[in-house]
Amino acid sequence: MTIYSQKDLKLMQYNILSDILKEFPINNLNTNKFGLSNLSLSGTKTDVSGFFRLFINDHEVSSTYTQSASYSWMNLPLDFIDYIEVYRGNSSFALGSDAGVFFIRIYTKKPSKENGTQVTGTIASHGTNSQSVTHTDMFQSGWSYLTYFNNTKEHDKRTYKNNTLQNDAQRRYFYLNIQKDKTNINFGYTDLEKDNYMGLAVDANSDSGMIESKDYFFDFTHKFLDDKSLKFNFAYDINEIHNEEKDSSGLEVLPVIVLTGPPTATMPKEYYQNIKLKKYSGLVSKTFSTQNNNFVIGTTFQNKKYITKQNTVVNFITGISSDVGQFTAFDEETISSLFVQDDYKFNDKFLLIGNAKLDKFKRNGGLDDFTSEHYRVGAIYTPFEKFGLKSFYTKTSLAPTFYNIDYADITNKNNQNMKNQEYKYYSIESVYADEKSRFSIFYTNVKIENFIYYAPIGFISIDDHTIKTQNWIFDYTYELTSKHKLQLNYYTTKQSESFTNSNKGGYLKFMGEFEKFDYFTSLIYKNGYSYKTVSVKNSYNLNLGATYNFSKNFSMSLKGENLLNKSTKSLYKEGLFIGTPFALEDYQRKVTLAMKWVF
């Protein structure tokens, strides 16, 4: 587990979540064909990543459609965030979340510790700007609340074959957290309106198009009994997505393309989509604690509904407009789960942890119902005060999403019963830490059965061989003084498949403060790679920043990102189905000026 404290966020000037994800070991933060930030596992490239889960105050904000945190949440502003926890491998099942391999848990500032108002404004290169207001208060009764508003306008573009790919976006966020002792209520909202970048255009440059999304959630948690050991949670999520796109070379909307004739006969040149997803979820759990043992048992329930409001295509040849309705009959999924968790402390040096979860899936649209099992066992052993070992084995499975089924293999439309992706994830971490330094070596060995791969003809389940990856992460932190910290990180990935993304990387970070100044520098390295005819060079992302604190309540910050202009590059393709691959930069050089006022 890695923790980004409020102090790290402040000194390193991590303004939005993707600032952190850029340096994330054994991952690559890419820009997908819709111009959205997307996380891919080291060595691989995905347009939609369903393997990691994003939480705000223990509420999962991944899209119900794709299980990915794309759209707005990946760019979540961090000025109302207290700290961030990152888990590799599965984390505790006690939150009743969907299965995953990476977990990012974000926690907002505690309203009872703030009792004030914060105004933040940023202005950056290319006209990008952002304004935020955070207000917190605590009442005499003990109830406290935090409200947060943000408006961000981003200006971004790339050039491909002398054409400009526009990637301008406007994002808005609203967050409300109300809490008192045993009760925690969260309401989150974000919307996005943006250019569609390459979109689905066969020539990777749509003539026109836009993407709109709105995400809302309400989450209520109450803990009963004096020891708060009985927990009740209810949550309701809505995702709304609206896409529209036109391109004279045609749009690769795979679900409507029929291969019994020439693809152009069924390929659209215009596409209008309007969908809504609703999710209800509930959890009840009870914890039984003794001096050396904690046992949690609980049950969760989730109901997901996928509503297609509009799915209109205009045919490439005939120009006839038709509403194709739902891509498949699969539009509802209900998951009932039972989980247990136990951690037993043999003594101060040895802790054993075990988790098990049973999910029962009921799906409509002629898809099979099934049961999936998840296990996680591990031990934490600290034989010496300064040295410890931690090891976990996780067996988990990721069920196909609505998106996987919609975009399933178009050559086999009669069988949409895609298998679950089965992950076996083993990790071991050794750590040496003293007062000033911490050195850790982290090793993971991952085996994936039935990997769902986005082939040129849609999602296919690779069930004839096992995908294997091994990762090593080396991390060293040294406190030069009580106010200056240096951090070095290096990772490398080996995998059974050919690389379609960077597989080695690392960073060097320095942060500190002197009198009224805070400052940092970081160099993030990702290695180059070759794929077919495309060769991508090493990326060196140099960042520098400083803050001047005029008073305890007012500060100005200046930050330069990607100063060497050597961004990572992502793979894309031009042409129908297999197409010709090419690579484009994920981000531009950027300078940001920020102001923070607290009152």
């Binding site: 500032k109 004030g116 020891d227 830490a433 911490r438 009580s482």
Partner: protein
């Protein structure tokens, strides 16, 4: 409103000490709070302190017991720290000192003579001059700058 900021070395800009694994629940804030309440209580009365925290959690119990003798109810305590807003109205004020973690509660309820609370992520202490007098509390010199005079 005049609030003096308590500058605490523990919350100064120093990085926290490196850790091997974060296994234990993070309890640094409660430890800090317990130390401060202990100093204030010792400075407020010469009697032996019996502390009562309404609806005390196990974690608080573990940490506060290092600094105080803990009372199981309001009746047997002489120092009450209401840090959750859950103090029963039946708790008699006679012979007891009441402290809180909520500035608004301090201002509106005259039984509290002081508060330790957070503002803009910074810890603060405030004592009310008149209520110190009413409770016969004579604070040591280090706390003089945290005393406010309000109209009641």
């Amino acid at each position: 409103m005049k609030i003096f900021i308590l500058l605490l070395t523990i919350f100064s800009c120093a990085f926290s000490q490196q850790y091997v694994f974060l296994v234990k629940e993070y309890d640094k804030e409660i430890e800090l709070e317990a130390k401060i309440i202990s100093n204030i209580a010792l400075s407020s009365t010469s009697e032996k302190i019996k502390l009562f925290i309404p609806k005390i959690t196990k974690q608080e119990q573990k940490i506060y017991s290092q600094y105080f003798n803990l009372a199981n109810d309001c009746k047997s305590a002489n120092f009450i720290f209401n840090n959750k807003g859950l103090l029963s109205d039946n708790c008699e004020t006679e012979g007891k000192l009441f402290f809180t973690n909520n500035y608004k509660r301090l201002i509106k309820n005259s039984k509290y003579y002081g508060a330790f609370f957070w503002n803009k992520s910074r810890p603060n202490i405030v004592f009310i001059k008149q209520r110190l007098r009413e409770n016969n509390v004579k604070l040591s010199a280090q706390y003089t700058k945290y005393i406010e005079d309000i109209d009641e």
